[in-house]
Amino acid sequence: MNGTLARSLSGRFLLPLFSVLLGLVAGAVAILLVGANPLDAYTALFQGAFTNRNGFTETLVATIPYVFLGLSVLIGFRAGLFNIGGQGQLLLGGIFSAFIGYRVAGLPAVLHVPLALLAGMLGGFLWGAIPGILKARTGAHEVITTIMLNYIAAGLLDFLVNRGPMSDPHRAIPQTPAILHSASLPIIVPGSRLHLGLFLAILAVPVIWFLLERTTIGFRIRVVGLNAEAARASGMSVAGTMVTVMGISGAVAGLAGAVEVLGVSGVLTPSLASGLAFDAIAVALLAGGNPIAILPSALLFGALRSGSSFMQLQTQVSTDLISVVQAAVIVFVAAPMLVRFIFRLRAGRAAPVSITKGGLGQTPPEEGVA
C-alpha cells in the first residue's frame, strides 16, 4: 500500500468504509463458524433490507430511532461525555409522550402530536440532566450514573405499566391504554409502517448540526470537550455546559422514545425499543462526530436490523449477528492504528479516539468541574 492511501485513510470516507467492510468480514467469520454460508446469509440480509415487499420501508422505520439516538450520543461526545444512558432517556421519553398521548383527549392532531413529542423531549431532558448535574456538582462519572439510570428507568417503566398507575385496566398484559388517534404519527406510505417520524429524523440532523456548529452553546460544548481547563479560564461555566449537554442529549434520545411510541407501537410496553440505544454508540462512532454523517450511518444499521429478521428466517443465522458486525465496526473506527496495522499502512498522526477521561468514580477535586 502506498502513502496516498494511508493519507486518505485518516480522512473522512475511507476509514469508515474500511471499518464497515471489516465488520462484515467479522460477521462472515461468525456465520462460517456456525456452519452457514455467509454469501447466502448476506444475500438474505440485503433482500430483507431492500428488495423484499416492504423491505425498504421497514429499513427506514428502523433507521428513524437510530438517527435520534446516534445524534444523542454524538452530542455527548462533543463535550467529552459518554452518554450510555440513551436507553433510559428513551424510556422516559416514551413514558412522558405516552401519557400525553392517551390521557389528553379532545385536542386536534396539529396540537396533540407536537405536545406529545415535546413531552417526550422533556422526559428525556430531565433523565439526561440528572447525570449532568451529578457530574457537574460531584464529579460522578457519567458512564456509571447513566448505566444505573437505564436500569432505574426500566424499573420505573415496569412499575408504571405492569398493573401500575399507567396500565390499561382492561388488559391482562402490561401496557398502557392505546395512544389516541390525534396523537399518533401519521403513516406516510400507505400499506407500510413508515410514519412521519422519518421527516422529523431528517429534520433533526441539520438542527443539531446548526446547534453544534453555529451557536454559542455549540461553541461552548466544543471548548469544554476539547479543553475544560481553557474553558474555565476563559470564564465559561463548565458545570452549566455539562448539564446543558446531557440535557439536550437526553432530550434527543427522549424524542426517539416518543417517536417509537407515537409512530410504531401505538402503546407503551415494558419492552419499548430494547437494545436500540446501545446500537446507537456504533452509529455515532461510525459517523465520526459529524451530525450529517449520522444519516448514512443510521441507515446502514437500520438496514442491518431490518434485514436480519429475513436472514434468520432464510438461513437460521441469528439476528444477533448484527451485534457482531457492530462491535467489529466500532473497534475499527475507534482504533485507526488497528486498521493501519491490518492493511500494513504507514503510521500517520491520526490520534486514537479518546472520549472519556479518568476512572468510573468521582473526578478528584483538583480536576473537578465545579
Binding site: V143, M148, I152, F159, I330, A335, L338, V353, K357, L360
Partner: protein
C-alpha cells in the same frame, strides 16, 4: 416488623451469598483491572461469553469441571482482547469495554441459535458440596459450607485478591501502575506487562463468574442470562472503594436487597417489587456522587500509558 419473623433468615442469608457470587467475582475482576489502571466495563460481556463457552464445553465433554475451566479460559481470552485494544492500540477503554459487551451479545446469540437448532439439552448443574463437620454447624453451616464449587472459590478468591493486592510485591506494582505509571516505570516496573496480567486476571475472575450462571445455577445457556450483573458488579467495586473486601460487602448488600425483595413479594408485602429492584442502582449513584465519603478511582485509571 411482623414480616421479619416469617422470613427465614438463614435461607435468606444463604440465598444472598449464592446470588452475590457472580457479583463478587466480577467486582474482584474490576478491582484487579482498575487498580492497575485499566477501566473494565467489559465484565458483563466477559461473563456472558464465558457462561456460554463453559456450557458448550461442559455439554460436549460431558464434564462440568471441564466446562468451568473453559469458562475461566474464555474469560481470560476475551479480557486479553480488551487488553490488546486498550493497552496496545490505545482504544478508549470505555469504548473497548462496550465493544466487548456488544460482541458478547452477538457471538453468544449467533451460536445459541445454532445450538437451539440442534436441540441441545443442558449438562446439569454443579452439585452442592456439604463440607464435613463445618457444614453441620447450625446457622453458619447452611450459609457458608453447603454450596456449589463456584461459590466456594469466590469466598477463597476474596481473600486471595486482598492478599495479592496489599501484601505482595505484585500488588504494590499493580497499585503503582494505577496511581502513577510514570513513577512505576521509573522505578523499573514494566507498566504494560503489569496491566496486561491484571486485565487477563480480571477476565479469569469474570469467567468464573460466568460459570456461575450456566454451570452452577441453571445448567443451560440462555441469551443474555447475565442480565446486567457485570454492571452491578462495577457498582459494587465502586461502592467498595476499589478494595476486595469492600466489593464483597457491597455485593452482599446488593444481592441481599434482591433476595429480600423476592421474599417480601412472596409474602404479599405491598411494596412494589420494582422499587426494591432499583435499590442497588440508586445506592450506586449515591455512592458515586460521594454522599458516603469520596469514591475516587485510582488516579491513572482510564488513561493509556505510552513510554515517551
Amino acid at each position: 416488623m411482623a414480616w421479619l419473623q416469617s422470613v427465614d433468615l438463614v435461607s435468606l442469608a444463604s440465598a444472598t451469598l449464592i446470588a452475590a457470587t457472580p457479583l463478587v467475582l466480577a467486582a474482584l475482576g474490576g478491582v484487579m483491572s482498575e487498580r492497575s489502571g485499566v477501566v473494565n466495563i467489559a465484565l458483563e460481556g466477559i461473563m456472558l461469553t464465558s457462561a456460554f463457552v463453559g456450557f458448550a464445553i461442559a455439554y460436549v465433554a460431558h464434564n462440568l469441571a471441564l466446562g468451568m475451566l473453559a469458562s475461566i479460559l474464555s474469560g481470560m481470552l476475551i479480557a486479553a482482547l480488551h487488553a490488546v485494544l486498550s493497552i496496545e492500540f490505545l482504544v478508549d477503554q470505555i469504548v473497548s469495554g462496550m465493544v466487548i459487551n456488544i460482541l458478547a451479545v452477538g457471538i453468544t446469540g449467533v451460536f445459541y441459535q445454532s445450538l437451539l437448532q440442534q436441540g441441545v439439552k443442558g449438562p446439569g448443574t454443579l452439585p452442592i458440596w456439604k463440607i464435613p463437620v463445618l457444614g453441620s454447624i447450625p446457622v453458619i453451616g447452611p450459609i457458608f459450607f453447603q454450596n456449589g464449587m463456584v461459590t466456594y472459590l469466590m469466598l477463597v478468591l476474596v481473600i486471595v485478591v486482598h492478599l495479592v493486592l496489599f501484601n505482595t510485591v505484585w500488588g504494590l506494582r499493580t497499585r503503582a501502575c494505577g496511581e502513577h505509571p510514570l513513577a512505576a516505570e521509573t522505578a523499573g516496573v514494566n507498566v504494560k506487562i503489569v496491566r496486561y496480567v491484571n486485565v487477563v486476571a480480571s477476565g479469569a475472575l469474570g469467567g468464573l463468574g460466568g460459570a456461575y450462571f450456566s454451570i452452577q445455577q441453571v445448567g443451560q445457556f440462555l441469551p443474555n442470562m447475565t442480565g446486567g450483573r457485570g454492571f452491578i458488579a462495577l457498582a459494587a467495586m465502586i461502592f467498595g472503594k476499589w478494595t476486595p473486601l469492600g466489593a464483597f460487602g457491597a455485593s452482599l448488600l446488593f444481592a441481599g436487597s434482591d433476595a429480600l425483595g423476592a421474599r417480601l413479594q412472596y409474602l404479599g408485602v405491598r411494596v412494589p417489587i420494582q422499587f426494591l429492584g432499583m435499590l442497588p442502582y440508586v445506592l450506586t449513584i449515591v455512592v458515586v456522587a460521594g454522599a458516603m465519603g469520596r469514591a475516587i478511582a485510582p488516579a491513572a485509571v482510564g488513561r493509556p500509558y505510552r513510554k515517551s
